[in-house]
Each structure stands twice: as C-alpha cells, then as structure tokens.
C-alpha cells in the first residue's frame, strides 16, 4: 500500500515537472507580441492609429502647456510647482512637464519609426499600395511633426530613425545640430507630401496639404522666407480651407471647421480633459492655467482682440480661458495647424521680403486675420512696424495655443518681451534622468 502510494506520488511529481513549460506559458489578452505587431493589413492600420494616439499623448495637454504658460498670456494659478517653474521660466532639469513631453514625443517617434520600418515589408493582398502609401505618408508626417516639436523646444536632438526592438542598437547616436534636425523634418515632409493623399474634407489625419502647411511653418522657423511664402500659399489656395466667422466657431462643437488644417479629434470614448486645467473648481476644473491680466485686457479691447474676446469667460478675478470648453463631454480637439496661421506665416514671410503693403502683401494677409476678428485694418506700413503688428496679432489670434513662446524664442524677442535675460533659457532642459541614463546625450548650455 505504502509503496503504491509513494510510486504514484513520484509519478505525479514527475508528470508535473514535464508539463511545466506548457503550464507556465501565460500570455496577456490585451496586448500582442512585438514580433506580431505589424504583419498584415489589420495590424498596419492599428499601428498607424496607435501613432496618432501617441501624438494625442503629447498634444492633448503637455505641448500646449509648454507653449503658453512659459510666455506672457497664461499664468500659474494652481498648486503644482512644475507649472510654477514653467511660469517663472525657472525650469530645473527635472521639471516633470518638460520631461513628460520629451518622452511622449520620442514615444510617438518610436511608433512612427515602427510603421516606417515594418509596413513596406507587409505582403497582404488586403493592403493595397495606395493604402500602404497613405499609412507610410502619415508616419513620415507624424515623425516630421515630432522632430519639429522637439527642435523648437529643445534644439537639435538625437535623431532616432529606427524602431527600438532592444536596447543594443541604441548606442552612439549623438545630438544633431538644429539644422540637421530641421533637415530631417524637411526630408520626412518631402516623403510625406509624396505619399499622402488629398481629399476635400479630411482634417484630422495627415494629407498632402497638412505636410505643406507644416513645411511652411518649418521654412518660417528657418527664416527661408520665399519657401515659407510658397508653401503657405499652396495651402491657402486650397479651397478646402477657409477662415470661419465668428472667431469662436473653430473652437465650438462640432469641430473640424474649414479653418482647421490639422487637428486631433477626441470623442467621449477618447477624452481630452484639458479644459479642466483652465476652468475654476466651481465649474469642475483645477484652474491651474489662468489668462494673465495683460491678455485679458488685450482680448477685451475691441481694437485688439475683437471677437477673440470669446476666448475668455468669467468675471475678475476669476476670468478663465475657454478655448477648451467641452466640459460635459471632454471632446475638445488639439489644435495643431489652423489656416489663420498660414496667413500670418505668409504675412511674416512677405514682410521679411519687403512685400509690405498693397495686394498680396504682409499687410493684406494680416488684415484678413484682423478682419475676421472684427478689428480694423493695420496702420503699420514699415517693415519693423508690420513685423511687430504680426507678432502682436499672433499673440491674440493664438492666445492659448502653443505659439507665443515659440514665436518669441525663434525671433529672439523673448528677452525683450518676457525679460528672460539668459538666452540659454530659450530652450528647455534635456531631462536630468535622460542625461543620467544616456551617455550619448549632452545637456543644453546653461542648465
């Protein structure tokens, strides 16, 4: 009896051991193995959708925060010191918003890199060449936008152009110069423009004209005025786009107005709660970002703000920004490029090329924007005055979008306007944690 029992025990133990490997093989049901991530039409589509999702990841709140609170339109009114640091332009290298944005942008790039690397090899009859090109074009565009956003925030960065499968292939990529980063953006935009389709309605996925619009902005940042004008004109002349009137139409649901060149769409299943950062607690928000007294005065001035006064609501001292306003549903889009920007890009490019007044001039473009807002035409005529007027117009037209800080830093005016005496502070710091973990990265000067 004992023997039989013990024999069977041993047998049981042995059987268990043999079947261990299989027994211990567990897989999740809400994730796929990396090697199966992009292998056919379905996964390729999912991957590019995921890349847009990553773009939402840093555009929903982080990038617009970095582009606004750092300048003079928006002040800190909450409790979180990382916002205070940005507001005071005293950004330590471990500021969590700059760090979060930096990592989120590279996460987007990794997704785009994966699409660019793996989609061409897919051999699936369900994935037509047209669709393949569209997916690739979108990936190139998103990568271009990501590197552009890195460049204007942090300067020339490390150009990571291959997907990360493991950590071994990472070594040895140093920071590029600002020009090299912008060259990469340009190269990707050229590819994107080739590959992308164009239709009459799409505004929340990349199209040929989206790539052209970003290209106009890129040339503006690089002071390539003629190119900036050319590409801005290409977009403006596309009948798909038109300024909306009144001003608030573009940020009032339903979105995707004709004003929009590129915006990221949200839904009740994919929410954008950024409004909560702007609204006071009596309306359910945290009121961390608050319009400054100066911008409130400008927006409320009919000669400056005009109908753009609809960007704010409330009474002093609780005036708050309402660019993001879908408090019940949280479906505000992330505004990336509006056609108004293309007019102002062209205005600035024309002013720089001394096309100051008259038809097809800096002033005519500027006045289109002013007219839409119900403000009288500009009185500026000289190049300097016009450039100043365009800067001021940008300030109110894009009061709560990620423009002001980048406009002031690209033109070198942040010192004068914001009182930032140290030009090193025009760039955000590379996150301290990245400096510690990546031997190939060097910190921006002054940090």
């Amino acid at each position: 009896m004992k023997r039989i029992y013990i024999y069977s025990l041993v047998l049981a133990l042995a059987t268990t051991t043999v079947s261990c490997k299989k027994y211990l093989d567990e897989k999740p049901n809400n994730a796929i193995a990396t090697e199966d991530a992009i292998i056919d039409a379905g996964t390729a589509r999912a991957a590019i959708i995921g890349t847009y999702d990553r773009l939402q990841g840093y555009y929903a709140s982080q990038y617009p925060t970095l582009g606004t609170i750092t300048a003079d339109n928006v002040i800190f009114n909450g409790t979180l010191s990382e916002y205070l640091q940005l507001d005071q332009n005293a950004i330590p290298t471990d500021n969590v918003i700059t760090m979060g944005t930096y990592t989120a942008i590279y996460r987007t790039i990794n997704s785009a890199n994966s699409v660019i690397a793996y989609v061409p090899a897919i051999n699936d009859p369900l994935l037509t060449v047209t669709e393949k090109n569209k997916i690739l074009g979108e990936a190139y565009f998103i990568r271009a936008l990501s590197y552009f956003d890195l460049a204007r925030g942090w300067g020339g960065v490390q150009l990571q152009l291959k997907p990360t499968a493991d950590l071994n292939g990472l070594k040895g990529i140093k920071r590029s110069t600002l020009d090299q980063t912008y060259d990469q953006v340009l190269a990707d935009l050229v590819q994107a423009e080739n590959l992308l389709p164009e239709d009459a309605t799409t505004r929340n996925r990349a199209q040929k004209s989206t790539a052209r619009a970003l290209r106009a902005r890129l040339h503006l940042y690089r002071k390539q005025w003629a190119d900036a004008e050319t590409y801005a004109t290409q977009v403006i002349s596309n009948t798909k786009y038109a300024l909306v009137k009144p001003y608030k139409t573009f940020f009032t649901a339903p979105f995707l107005s004709t004003e929009s060149v590129f915006e990221l769409t949200y839904s009740v299943n994919d929410r954008n709660g950024f409004w909560g950062t702007w609204y006071p607690s009596s309306a359910g928000g945290s009121f961390t970002l608050k319009p400054s007294d100066a911008i409130v005065a400008k927006l409320n001035n009919p000669q400056i703000g005009g109908t753009r006064s609809t960007l704010i609501a409330g009474t002093a001292p609780n005036i708050y920004g309402v660019l993001y306003n879908t408090t019940a549903s949280s479906i505000d889009p992330s505004y990336v490029i509006r056609i108004a920007e293309l007019y102002l890009i062209r205005a600035e490019a024309r002013a720089q090329q001394n096309k100051l007044t008259g038809a097809n001039s800096a002033a005519s473009d500027l006045n289109i924007i002013r007219d839409r807002a119900g403000v009288l035409p500009t009185t500026a005529t000289s190049q300097a005055d016009l450039l100043q007027a365009i800067e001021d117009e940008n300030n109110v037209e894009f009061a709560f979008e990620a423009h002001r800080w980048f406009d002031l830093t690209r033109t070198g005016r942040a010192g004068t306007v914001l009182g930032i005496t140290n030009p090193n502070r025009y760039l955000f710091p590379i996150p301290l944690s990245d400096i510690l973990s990546d031997p190939d990265v060097v910190q921006n000067p002054g940090y």
Binding site: V10, A12, T17, R54, T79, A90, N110, T265, S282, D434
Partner: protein, 1019 residues
C-alpha cells in the same frame, strides 16, 4: 535538472524505507503494555506522543486517540519515558497494563512549539529566527487588521499605519526593505492558504491605500509566527524573501464540551490634534506683506492688496472635518469536539467611523474550522473564512478635490457659502462641506479564504498531507459624483462602477517524517518533501458614465454617455521543496532546506530559481560545563545562511515584448509599443546571514533573545531608466543590489510573581540599516511630480532629496541654501539627500500586571530617527506664491526685520534670478520651488498605544450567572504621544501607494485617540 530532481526524490524515499524497516524490528515478547497519553489539563489525547522503554532503542507513538501498545522483551516493572512536543517529558514506572499517562504542557519560551514552514517544531530545535505571538497580545483592539497590531510586538518587524482611516493601509516590513520595484510585503499564510495582499480597493485613488489583511477577524486568530531569517523562509523560496507571517486560527479540541465565547466593545474616538490655519486677518496681512515686499523689490506697484486686512472675517473650516467617531465590535464563537472531530465556529461584526468625515468601515466575518479523524490514520479538515467589508471612502484627501485639502488649503477669510447660499469654491479647491455631504464612494468586498486538507499517517513517523486552498477577493466599487461637487459639476454627474476579482489557488503536497531513535533517543530527525502549484488570477471589469438627469439617479446605467473597460492577468508558480533537521543529544542541531521555483512571469531563460538554506544551533545550556555555572536555565546559539527570492509586485507579463491595445484614434482600434522583451528576466534574490542567541536566566524569570542579520538582495527587479529616445522610459531588468543589516533584541521578564501578584515586562528593539549598494542611476519620484524622494546608490531607500536650507540671512531675510557643487549658483545640481524616512531604531515596551481579579496592560511603541516631509507646511508656508492657498501658523514666523533669526524667509513672489543663492526668488519659488529642507522634520515618537485596565468577575459570582468566565475592561488607545513633530501625527505615510515614497504627511487622516469599554464572556 528534472533528472536530478527525480533522483533526489528516490534517494529521499529510500532513506525513509530504511527507517521504516528498522522500526519494525521487534525483540521476543515477554510483556504487553497498553495505555493512553493525555493532556494533563484537559484530558485530551496526545496523538504522536512517543513512548519508549528506558534502555531500549526504539519506542512507539500514540495513535489519534492517544492509545499505544508496546510489546517488549522486558518484564514488569520497568520504566518508560513519554515525550511529546511542547510537553514536559515524563518518566513513569509501570507495573501492569493498561495505564494512563498525563503530560503537562511545557510553558516557557524556549520550549514553545513553533509552526515553521510546513512543519511544527519545538523552539529549542529551531536554528532560524522566528518570532511567535499569541492571540492574547493582539486581542480586543480597535483596529481591523491583525498585521497592524503587530506594531512593536515583534523585534525586526516594522509596522506603520499609513493613515488613521479605519481598515486603511499599513506598511509592514520584516527586517527592512529589500526591493525597489518588486514588493516589500511579507507572505501571509493563514491555515496554509497563501493570502493575496492586493489592495482591496482599487478605485477612488486612495492615497494611503486599504489593508487587505483587515478582512481577517483578529478574534479568530490563535497564534502568529513571523519567519524572519533565510533559514526559516527559504522553504517558501521565491515567496519568502520579505519574511513570512504564518497565522493559525482557533480550532476546537477533541473530547471537549462545547464552549461559547462572546466579546464586545464599544469605542469612542477623537482627534488628538486638529489642523490649524492662520485666521482671516493674519492671512490677509501675510498676503499683503508678500505683495508689498515684492513690489518694493521689483518696482512694479502691488496690485490686488486686501483692504482692511485686520477686519477680515475668519471662517473655520478645519473643525468641520472632525467628529467623535464610534466603533463597535461583536464576536460570538463556539468550539468543542467529539471523540473523532472538532469544530470552531465564529461570527463577527465590526463597525468603525473615521474621525475625519465621511469615511467608515464595516466588516462581517464568519469562520468555520473543522477536523475529522475518519480512521485512525486518515484525518480531513477545513478552514473557511468568509468576510464582507463595506468601505465608505473619501478618495484622495490630498487632491484639491479631496475633503481635507478643500478645508485646509482654502484661505480662511473666504466664506464657505456664496451669498445665494450655494457652496463657494476657490481656485482648484472644492467645498469641503459639499464633499462631506455628497461624496458617494462605496466599496463592498467579499473575501473567502478556504483550505481543505487530508492527512494520512502511514506510521507514527511518516505523514502525507495534501492541501487545497483558495483565496478569493471580490470587490464591487461604486462611485457617484453629483452636480454639487466639483467632480460632477461639468459632466452633469459622473459615476463609475467596477468589479475586481483576485483569485489565488494553491495546491500542496507535503510528506513529513519525524522520528527519534538511537540510544536514549539521541537522534532526532524532522524531514519533509513537497510540492506547490500556485496560480494567481486577476480580473476586473469597469464602467463609467457621465450626464445624469437628476442627482437621484446614481447608477452608470442612467448616464447619457457610458464606457467600459476590462482586464485580466494570470501568473503561475510551480515549486518543489525539501527540508531536513537533525538534532543530536538535544544539543546539536543542523538543518537545511531547498526549494526550486518556476514562475510564469519570468523570461524563458531564467524561469527556474533555487533557494537553499542551512542552519546550525547549539544548545549550550545542555552542556555540563554550562549547567555547572548554575546561571543559565537555557542557553542556545544559532546561525544560519540561505537564499530566498522575490517575484511579487511585478506584472504578470513583465518579461514579454508587447504592443498594447487601446491606443485608439477616431474610434478605430490602435496599438502601440508598450514593453521591451527581456527573456533573461529572473529572480530577485536575497542572501541572508543570521546569528542569534537565546537564553533564560534568574530561574526562568528573564528570557533574552538577540539576533544579528545581514541581508544582501541582488539582481533586483528594477525598472532601469533607458534613453528616452528609445521610446521607452524604463526596462525591467535584474540589476542593482540592496543591503539591510541590523540587530534586534527581545526581552521577556517576570518581575514579580508572588502572592497572586504578577508583573511581567516585554521589551523589544530593532535596529536596521538599509543601503542601496548598486543602482544604475538615481531614481527620483514622489509628491505628484515634485520628486522629493530619491533612490541613490550608497543611501537608504526613502531618502529625501531637497535643497538644504542653511539659514535665513538675518540682514536680507532671504533663505540661503547649501551650494553643493560650489558654483555660486543654486540649481538642481544642489539638491541633496537630507535624511530618510526609516527609523534608526524602533520597538515596543509592554508591562502587564495581574493582581487577583485585576489586570492592567500598558503598551508603548517608539521609533527614532525617521524624517517626515510635512507637505502641509510645504504648501501652506508658501510666502505668497500660492494665490489660492492660505497659511499655517508657522508662516507667521517669517523674517520681517533686519537682525531677526528665524528659519522662515521673507515673504515674496519675486522670480528673477532663480539661480542666485540668497536671492529672493528662491525663498519660496525659483529653482528651489519650496523643495526646502525646512519642511522636513524629525518624526521620532514614543506613544502609549494602549492602556488597558481589566477586571475578571470572581468565580463565586460567575457561577451564579452560570458563565465560566467574565471579564470587563476599559482601554485607551493613543492616549499619550511624545514627539517633536509639529504636524497632527508622526505616524502617517500619505504617499505609501508607492513603497519608495514613504514618510509624507499630506492632508492625511491622523491616528485617532480611542476610549473603549469591553466585555469578554465564556459560557
């Protein structure tokens, strides 16, 4: 390996057979002795008691009814020796058959029976470090979780409540923190069931968490063993490195009459200290002073000054938070046994309110423990515990929309209500009264912990036990934010509902061999082999909705917009283990164990881990040369070394390269890379050395136990930061090492025991030094992105990373900080470690006095040297930089006049020159941004945790009432606290959801002071 294992099993079994056949050799028979061995106190049989004729090598064991038969070559009369674990050995001269032998229980620390991993051993044979705690020590306290009650009761065990919320989370560490990203919690085993230690409340964003172990009724516990060193824990292999807490619940005893016990207590709790803020005029004055100081420096005229600061009203919000909270507890149990079976049945009810509104906790428990000896050799049994817990929670109190924050942070001159009578709200903050009245977060947990076992005795020496157990946790959490609180205003009401389930299945087989043999039974063997299959399965399904027609509809199904989510994960563990202990002559003990574990969480290349241990003990007190000293009643030295592992706390699929779903856009399903593959991911291993001694002196009046240990944890399961350009932020690797070494002492003293007067003292102290030995780079975290906690090589975990304020310049009133890199500037390079949250030492001190029917128990807990980050000061001593936040009185100590010595700098909001040391910007903002050591405080304290006078009714009276025993008592909890900490309570840890961010006090419910009256009755 498989081959090796099979061979090992065979070898082991061969040894057994040899022993068995040896035992069966019989001499020629001259007389036949039959008898029974019984417990002297309750006349219960003692199965397994060994009866041996003196001078003869082998003996027999009593069966399940305590009966034995000896056939011997000797003739009556002869002397027999009867031994049984935990009982005094007895020699009896027998002159005829049958006989009845009664053994007395051996009371005295060193002779206790200790339940170790998979076996029961006499303490004297233990080479490892194990602390035993009886139910007496932790009974009748107004705390739901038994683990919380172990605070100060066991050397080497550090227990801290994270908050004063009933049923709230605790931090429990055995000999320090081993791990950074894997769990630091011990393994809890209740009647053989591996308990899940997941936070039972996954919703509501609880800052300090809830205690999963609170589901167990303390009243059902018989004893607790805490396994601390590698020798004791290695048998649990990969589950054991953080220590093992083995709980044995009460069981009936065979052949006893049914007994009924009833316990109840009623308690009243209040706050020891309440939050203080500056009154209206002071707040206005400070605000204006800050604006004026700033204007004077920048030359820009001040705006928004408060007119007539001294006539500002004061609205006291913080008093609204507190209440006199009630606690009540009822326990009813019965136990007893027939000739073949025994039972314990218990019901319990506990209800506790938090002293800060509106949280409360209610728990219903039921337990059924039953054993049946079906045949002489086969025993089956079960332990089943069912509990239902209801928690009313307030969400995160330190969120601007949390109850405490909205009362504490809002400026005191601002009215609570608007002119129209509606709730007023300011800045980011909600209205505290609105929250108290309308918060609706309810969590209902169902927990079943059940074990079924069968035990077959092949012989008195060889026993096989098969055990099947399950721990199921079900949580149904429902929350509704109506339109009267911030969270529901914008969305027209929002609701969420979720069901989370966590199942732990464990199956174990253990074959145990225990035998003494040889001349005078000098050889004593205790050995076992076994296997474990363990599966942990977690599921959750959640739904949420926004947009409600009215506040009276609160279910997700009533919402205009609804969405859902779900998740599931499964992790499996396969283990084999063996353990053996050999004692010679009651003096020399050597033991060893090994466990082999394979986990589904790990990479294909590193799935198996092997965890051996070995220990030796020398009972020097048994040596003649020590006996001759006539000083030691007992003296034992022991030493052990071994490995144990850890895999808890990391994801079920941590080793796989994955793309996650849910990365959706435009209502289309998307995927994105989420995790890099690591096929080499394997065990985190702790190597521990323990050296200890235990001795009893002064005629057994003083027992002292001392231990030194040194734990080195290597191959840490660590989220190693990777270059961000990879698209990932970290990669889970086996990298890094941590060391904990320390010393612990426990003293038990019977000071007086005469004339019905007994006074005993227990004292224990633990000293632990924790140090991160290897770390790839600093890891900072904590305080919502402020990164106040740091992990840095060469320093302990839970270190605080701040700017060290040297002084406030008496001339300028500006704060001057330590310029660490001496570059003349204050930048993030000047942050440094200025202390940590771990105590230098901690312990407990208990005095018990009994005189006739009176008893008195006083228990003090103390800890020294730990720092606490006072986040309330961090926010509310802000110098004017926080326009929407008020001040605490400490702000009034700010610098105002040249020559003044203070540590609170001049009020200002100047932000230029943030790099300048001693400049205005860094007083409260700038680069320092208030991350100053001035808010870090010493949190050492000594606390009279409990004081309990009791009175047992005289038996003359109880007999009249036909009860066998009745005791009434009064107990005070947290009556006295001695500390320099100026917050409400040094015993909180607001950021404990992350184990690496301990030691924050941030709008947290403090420990209450409770007075309770209770009665225990036995029928």
């Amino acid at each position: 390996m498989k081959q090796l294992y099979k061979k090992g099993v065979w070898l082991f079994l061969c040894v057994f057979f040899t022993q068995l056949s040896f035992a069966q050799t019989e001499p020629s028979i001259k007389s036949r002795l039959t008898g029974r061995v019984l417990d002297a106190a309750n006349k219960q049989p003692l199965p397994g008691a060994v009866v041996r004729i003196n001078g003869v090598t082998n003996g027999v064991s009593a069966d399940n009814e305590g009966k034995f038969t000896i056939l011997t070559g000797q003739t009556f009369p002869f002397t027999i020796t009867v031994t049984y674990i935990g009982y005094v050995t007895q020699e009896v001269v027998v002159n005829g058959s049958p006989i009845e032998i009664t053994l007395k229980e051996n009371i005295g620390q060193l002779n206790d029976v200790v339940i170790t991993g998979y076996s029961t051993q006499e303490r004297k044979y233990i080479a490892g470090s194990i602390t035993s705690i009886s139910s007496e020590t932790i009974k009748d306290q107004p705390v739901a979780g038994f683990n919380q009650l172990l605070q100060g009761k066991a050397a080497g065990v550090q227990v801290l409540s994270n908050s004063g919320v009933p049923g709230g989370g605790i931090t429990f560490r055995v000999r320090g923190s081993n791990s950074i990203n894997a769990s630091n919690d011990p393994l809890y085993i209740v009647d053989g069931v591996f308990l899940s230690n997941n936070d039972p409340v996954s919703s509501f964003g609880q800052q300090a968490g809830s205690n999963p172990i609170a589901d167990l009724n303390v009243n059902d516990i018989e004893s607790i063993q805490i396994l601390k060193d590698a020798n004791a824990t290695a048998i649990y292999g990969s589950l054991g490195s953080n220590g093992v807490v083995i709980v044995t619940t009460k069981r009936g005893k065979r052949n006893t009459k049914g007994k009924i016990n009833f316990n109840t207590y009623q308690g009243w709790s209040t706050a020891i200290k309440k939050f203080q803020v500056t009154d209206g005029p002071q707040t206005a004055l400070l605000t204006n002073e800050s604006k004026n100081n700033t204007a004077a420096e920048t030359g820009v005229p001040a705006t928004g000054l408060i007119a007539n600061p001294e006539s500002q009203p004061t609205y006291n919000r913080t008093d609204d938070l507190f209440r006199n909270a009630r606690s009540q507890n009822y326990d009813l149990s019965t136990q007893g046994g027939s000739e073949t079976s025994d039972y314990y049945i218990a019901l319990g009810y506990l209800n506790q309110q938090s002293i800060v509104k509106p949280s409360d906790y209610t728990r219903y428990t039921a337990r059924f423990n039953y054993d049946n000896n079906i045949t002489k050799n086969l025993k089956v049994g079960t332990s089943v515990s069912i509990s239902r817990s209801l928690r009313n929670l307030s969400g995160s109190d330190n969120n601007p929309q949390g109850v405490i924050n909205s009362a504490l942070f809002v400026r005191s001159y601002l009215p609570v209500f608007n002119a129209d009578g509606t709730y007023a709200r300011y800045g980011s903050f909600d209205n505290h009264l609105a929250l108290i009245a309308n918060l609706n977060n309810k969590s209902v947990g169902w927990r079943t912990v059940a074990n079924f076992f069968g035990e077959y005795s092949f012989s008195p020496y060889l026993k096989l036990r098969s055990s099947w157990s399950v721990d199921t946790e079900n949580e149904n959490a429902n929350s509704y934010s109506n339109t009267l609180i911030s969270a529901g205003i914008a969305s027209n009401g929002s609701a969420s509902s979720s069901i989370s389930q966590n199942y732990v299945y464990t199956n174990e087989q253990v074959l145990t061999f225990i035998k003494s043999f040889g001349k005078d039974n000098k050889h004593n063997i205790n050995a076992l082999i076994g296997n474990t299959l363990n599966t942990v399965n977690s599921n959750s399904t959640g739904s949420s909705g926004t947009g409600f027609a009215t506040n009276n509809l609160t279910s997700v199904s009533s919402a205009a917009t609804r969405s859902g989510s779900s998740s599931q994960s499964t992790a499996k563990l396969v283990s084999f283990f063996a353990k053996g202990s050999y004692a010679f002559d009651d003096k020399y003990i050597i033991d060893g164990s090994i466990r082999a574990d394979a986990s589904s969480r790990f990479g294909k290349n590193k799935q198996w881990g092997y965890f051996p241990s070995g220990g030796i003990a020398w009972r020097a007190g048994q040596e003649d040369f020590i006996k001759n000293l006539n000083f030691f009643d007992e003296l034992k030295f022991r030493g052990s070394i071994g490995l144990s592992g850890n895999q808890a706390g990391i994801g079920s699929y941590a080793a796989l390269g994955l793309w996650s779903s849910g990365a959706n856009y435009l209502e289309q399903a998307g995927t994105s890379p989420s995790q890099l593959a690591n096929p080499d991911l394997g065990w985190e291993t702790t190597r521990q050395i323990d050296l200890g001694t235990e001795f009893t002196i002064l005629n057994k009046r003083l027992t002292i136990s001392l231990d030194y240990y040194n734990k080195y944890t290597y191959d840490l399961l660590l989220n190693v930061p990777v270059p961000y350009r990879s698209g990932f932020t970290s990669y889970l690797q086996n990298y890094g090492a941590m060391r904990n070494k320390g010393f612990e002492a426990a003293i038990h003293s019977t000071n007086i025991n005469s004339g019905g007067f007994k006074w005993t003292t227990d004292f224990n102290i633990s000293i632990n030094r924790n140090k991160i030995e290897i770390l790839p780079s600093d890891i900072v975290q904590g305080a919502s992105g402020r990164n106040i906690s740091i992990l840095r090589q060469g320093y302990p975990v839970n270190s605080f990373y701040l700017y060290k304020q040297l002084y406030v310049d008496p001339q300028t009133g500006n704060a001057v900080y330590d310029d660490v890199n001496k570059d003349g500037k204050i930048t993030s390079a000047d942050r440094q470690i200025v202390g940590d949250a771990q105590p230098r030492f901690a312990g407990g001190f208990t005095n018990s006095v009994n005189y006739k029917n009176f008893d008195l128990n006083l228990f003090f807990y103390f800890q020294q040297g730990n720092k606490i980050m006072n986040m309330n000061d961090f926010f509310m001593v802000h110098g004017g930089t926080q326009a929407n936040i008020g001040f605490v009185p400490r702000q009034l100590e700010r610098w105002t006049t040249p020559g003044q010595i203070t540590d609170i700098p001049r009020l200002t909001t100047v932000s230029s020159n943030p790099d300048q040391n001693g400049g205005s910007a860094n007083n409260y903002g700038g680069n320092v941004a208030s991350l100053s050591s001035r808010y870090l405080q010493d949190a050492s304290f000594i606390r009279l945790k409990t004081a309990t006078p009791g009175f047992t009714l005289p038996s003359s009276l109880t007999q009249k009432l036909s009860v066998s025993r009745a005791r009434i008592y009064v107990q005070g909890t947290n009556l006295l606290t001695f500390t320099h900490y100026d917050g409400l309570d040094p015993e909180v840890s607001s950021q404990s959801a992350n184990q690496n961010t301990a030691g924050y006090d941030w709008a947290t419910v403090p420990q209450p002071r409770t007075i309770q009256v209770g009665i225990n009755v036995s029928l």
